[in-house]
Subunit: 421 residues, 2 copies
């Protein structure tokens, strides 16, 4: 008998019929003797419906009191879907109970709409499990020290599930979603992309942060911190498939670096279209220039990703970095109006037509020449590299957006990911 | 400066546009210097939508665990509408905060789907009011001693509002609804029906229990117990009408019996189509016969309203009573299958085509002949009376349902309620 956490996304909970399928699947696991905790998202479309009502009433505001109310509003979506799942499980003959985040409680900080989980009390839940109940805990939400409802941000239900699994010391956290695992890259871009049977936690973390949307990055961080074995699998297999088969399906995110994993130098190709590049040209090359540019950007709460500084020429240098496209206009204005004049820079230019492509692989630690294989493959296709950023287990390049698909396919082939297993 | 509680029904909260109007109205009161607490219902249709999803998933069940989940589900409707109202008030420039029942907390017993409020903590709300905030408290819901979410049953938001007003010692509780007050009878039946400027708490209690649907009876009981001045008024007047005019509109439910009120012997005519009559015929007339019949009925959790026992003839008597139509079939079967054979009754007959018509008036205490005026008026119209029930301030008769409108109109005229004020 194991303690298992299931997480179901909004699509999996999208209709009464689908909720009934989730209930049947969970009941199958419970009847096999497992203690079950289930973390559902809101029914698909519900969070958007609620926030849409809010935006009809008021323009968005920067006030904390406004974000507090958005969280009160959005949190109702998961409370409703959780209660519905409990009702569906009861109809399957299971004893089931649902808890909102505040009832567990799932304690968070007070950063409304993007709160972080601080602790989860397992006493109440364990008592129910020991009494033979399936326990349903709302994803996406918690309660802050002052008793206000908080939400964790989009995709936060993944994090809720992993945090619950960590707090309960669960044997495995299964993330049921509308894809059947983690792929070597997006199959819509590379049809030859293959599902990975296992992926290391560190690779998953890089992939999530590099733009792979399978898992919310904070859920992977949480899994890493608390060593929660985590599996991504499909909620669209028939609910009554053999449990042993289901338990091995999808992709396992693991903490052990087994032999098989060492063989693949690069496990996957991630990409991100959502960034934009800004260059500050002709800056006097003096100490503190990076801080002089990026300090004001950070103060404006704008996150910076790839950063490069050109070699100096005539005592002047060019400084480039990427930001999320949502922050692009604001960053550009800040630099043009305030930063460049203060530093004596000659010009600030920007470009939103860029894409970031990354190779990720834990094998890169022990293999040399991986980056040069990457650069050669891109060069052979005539793809110009604008920026480069590396870490121990990934190398990212920024390229012209129009070459994105070409680059991803070339790299997928170059690192042998096309071959059948 | 007064402390005022406003309650808005589901129709008043039915769309973003209507919520905005509620916000403008509340802001007007707050700007006039009043401390404001607002208790909204769920947006109209929302509770039905949620419970509809539940009924798609499972047949209704008698289990406590099922009712618990229905409450978790239904309570989300008011949490969402309360957050939306807070957002709308903030957009009007007001400082506003919404609380779910558990946050106040509004403490109730554990009778899921029909819980009773036991106490309301005013500390948190008062702190917000003193800080100049408009406080919104979800109607319809609370938290039980074990931390489960409870709801108060349909129309429970009225009770929430009055209970909040009582706990806060509010100066007045204004129930905004889709009618503009309490009428001498239903204007759809008697077009000459007139709005009452004031009505005594005791009369209102009788009217609510006799079928007038303007207020939930428990809200009136609560108002009576804690002497909360309560006003029923329309939410469909323009939000910017003069506040002094608005504050005097609708119907005030009062605890002082002023001169004017003494003048009207009968204040209103209430009626109810929702009951059914059951007669147990030919019962041996021995002591304990009423208990022998009504005991098993009460044990089956069926509420009995009007009761009469005929005079005995040849040692046998007939025993009749009314129940809600929803309980009729169950009561009939119970009596036919179990009770009648045990008591040696000759027959059990039932009739759903009945209606109860009542005259209500605090003046009936000090006037004689009121009941006989009622009987004469009905007799003149050829309406046969099947059952009679009286209390200090009302007289009810059960008649054939087809005479209902005729009877109500005749009584409205007979007691001088048609005359212009």
């Amino acid at each position: 008998m194991a303690l298992i956490v299931h997480k179901y996304g909004g699509t999996s909970m999208g209709s009464p019929e689908r909720i009934r399928n989730v209930a049947k699947r969970v009941a199958k696991w419970a009847r096999a003797g497992h203690q079950m905790v289930v973390v559902p998202s809101a029914m698909s479309g519900e969070t958007n419906r609620l926030l849409g009502l809010a935006s009809e009433l008021a323009p968005s505001s920067a006030k904390t009191s406004y974000y507090r109310e958005l969280d009160m509003l959005a949190a109702t979506g998961e409370q409703a879907s959780s209660a519905l799942l409990a009702i569906a499980l009861q109809a399957e003959g299971m004893d089931a109970i649902s808890y909102a985040g505040w009832q567990v409680p799932v304690r968070t900080d007070s950063a409304f709409t993007k709160a972080r989980i601080e602790s989860i009390d397992d006493v109440r839940v364990r008592k129910d499990l020991d009494a033979g109940r399936v326990v349903i805990i709302t994803g996406f939400q918690g309660i802050d020290p002052e008793g206000h409802v908080t939400t964790l941000g989009r995709g936060g239900s993944d994090t809720s599930a992993v945090a619950v699994a960590a707090a309960m010391k669960a044997d495995e956290c299964l993330i049921y979603t509308d894809v059947d695992g983690v792929y070597t890259t997006d199959p819509r871009v590379v049809p030859a992309a293959k599902r990975l049977g296992t992926v290391s936690f560190e690779e998953m973390l890089e992939m999530a942060s590099l733009g792979s949307k399978v898992l919310q990055i904070r859920s992977v961080e949480f899994a890493g911190k608390y060593k929660v074995p985590m599996r991504v699998l499909s909620s669209f297999t028939p609910w009554d498939i053999d449990l042993a088969e289901e338990a091995k399906s999808g992709t396992l995110i693991t903490f052990e670096e087994d032999e098989k994993m060492e063989k693949a130098v690069v496990s996957g190709i991630a990409f991100n279209r959502g960034e934009a590049k800004i260059s500050v040209l002709g800056v006097p090359d003096t100490p503190g220039i990076a801080a002089g540019i990026l300090g004001p950007v950070a103060d404006a709460n704008i996150e910076v990703d790839v950063i490069i500084q050109n070699i100096s020429k005539d005592g002047k240098t060019d400084f480039s970095f990427t930001v999320n496209q949502g922050d692009y206009q604001r960053a550009l204005e800040l630099l043009r109006d305030k930063v460049a004049p203060a530093l004596g820079a000659s010009e600030v230019v920007g470009n939103t037509n860029i894409a970031k492509v990354s190779i990720v692989g834990i094998g890169m630690r022990s293999h040399v020449g991986v980056a040069s294989t990457m650069f050669r493959a891109l060069s052979q296709e005539g793809v110009n590299i604008q920026m480069i950023s590396t870490s121990e287990i990934k190398t990212s390049v920024v390229i012209d957006e129009k070459y994105l698909e070409l680059a991803v396919r070339a790299l997928h082939t170059a690192f042998g990911l096309d071959k059948s297993e």
